[in-house]
């Protein structure tokens, strides 16, 4: 297991936000974290990234794995151009880095924007730069916090394809936080559902569908219905044959 999380909990002051969250992520797996706003998804991700050290429980990450993080906001450095922001995480030869960064900027559709400063970008453009900045470093583990939520449906689809393409090439382990059930179903091998107060891991669902998946397919539709029912708390409606319960090996 590349990432193992054991009885993860987190308090902010008096408020217990997370409690007893257990899961693990295998090498090259794509796992989505799903849950309502404010339930603690970003908190889990920040703990995984090592940005937040005040959690309870334990997180183990295989040695030598380089982590990339795409934040919920773009977080570009305002004093650097788009190109310089994109090469920020790269070491070594400047010219090679810039070439590489340009390739990724082209992949996210921002070839023309390399000389602009962050204040000159739209929200979606800035987020795409942030995506390029993380992808260009080719991390072993990629943590994404609602990376596509600021984008229009079409760009979103393109970037989801890009993510899958990169995943196909370098088998990055991906943990993705999202609000978007379609996105979670389209991309992931597993969907983790955070629910309750404090949030616990309510479900660990294996999406046993082969890739490439077709977005409009009936099986995805069935999954979506089940997930929506789960989110509403209606346990009864969902199809157990498709699901692996928490703790069970898929």
């Amino acid at each position: 297991m590349t990432v193992r999380v054991q009885s993860l909990g987190r308090c902010f002051g008096e408020k217990q936000v997370l409690q007893g969250v257990d899961f693990s992520v295998g090498q090259g797996e794509i796992v989505s974290l799903l849950g309502t706003s404010g339930c603690g998804k970003s908190t889990v991700l920040r703990a995984l990234a090592g940005l937040d050290k005040e959690y309870e429980g334990s997180i183990t990450i295989e040695l030598g794995q380089r982590i990339g993080f795409i934040f919920q906001e773009p977080r570009l450095l305002p004093w650097k151009t788009v190109l310089a922001n994109t090469t920020f995480g790269l070491k070594g030869d400047k010219r090679l880095n810039e070439e590489k960064a340009r390739r990724y900027l082209e992949l996210v559709g921002l070839k023309e924007a390399e000389k602009l400063y962050p204040r000159e970008l739209s929200g979606g453009m800035a987020q795409r730069v942030a995506i390029a900045r993380a992808l260009v470093t080719e991390p072993d583990i990629l943590l994404l916090d609602e990376p596509f939520s600021a984008l229009d449906a079409f760009t979103k689809m393109q970037l989801q394809e890009l993510l899958l393409k990169i995943w196909g090439e370098i088998r990055t382990t991906i943990v993705l936080v999202t609000h978007d059930i379609d996105e979670a179903l389209y991309l992931s091998d597993r969907v983790l559902l955070l629910q309750g107060k404090p949030s616990t891991l309510a479900k660990d669902l294996k999406i046993a569908l082969s890739r490439p998946r077709s977005r409009g397919s009936a099986s995805l539709g069935k999954w979506k219905e089940d997930l929506l029912n789960l989110l509403e708390g209606k346990d009864t409606a969902y199809d157990y044959s498709l699901v692996t319960e928490v703790g069970q090996k898929a």
Binding site: A49, G50, L51, I67, G68, F69, F71, E73, R75, L77, P78, W79, K80, F88, G89, Y117, P118, R119, T137
Partner: protein, 258 residues
Amino acid sequence: MWKKLRTHPVLLGSLLPILLVAVWEIMSRAGIIPAYQLPAPSAILSTILAYVQDGSLQDHILLTVYRLFVGFVIGTIAAILLGTLVGYSELAERIFDPLMQAFRSIPSLAWVPLFILWMGIGESSKVTLIAVGVFFPVYLNIVDGIRGVDRKLIEVGRMYGLDGVALVRRIILPASLPSFLTGLRSGLGLGWMFVVAAEIMGASQGLGYLLILGQNTYAPDVIIASIFLFALLGKLTDWVLKLIQKRSLHWQDTALAK
């Protein structure tokens, strides 16, 4: 004509000064203002020209600017070193900041007798005084600037494996640059104030010396001439810093940025 005047900022702003100078000139010539108290603008101008012609004004100005420059650089470097340390490390803050706050509450001119006692009235005491004056605004702004750096940007740095010096250099310093430049400008302003103080306390050359010379020889034209030159030079140096500020902060997304 009126419309052009109203929209052109320089024209509009210089209207009142020109008017005042004209009234002043007329009243001086008419003998309403006694010349031994306030000589006419034309008299002051000819005093300046006379100093220029015998070459001494250039020397006075050069020496004053030189003192200011050396003191400014020393004060700024000290402020950068200590300010970065205190802003970045909480331990350093707890060690240094109470002392700094205590020193800051001493009006800097109160140091003058001590510096003269220690170093005499030569260059070193003057430069030290100026450096002390420049130090505090720069120091305070650097500390504030570093404290004010967005935690979110620091996290970006950490995610890309930066810490310690690399984090300071690549995230913290550029992010606190606006505040640092503000500090430089107010430090420079104080520097000018202290160069006057330093030169008044004893100098045989410099614009501040001209002030004292004017006082001792009952020559208000010399005093006003050097006041005018101080204002001119102060504005000029501030303008240079302002230009640097504008150049290096063009990325800022503020109401004033264009």
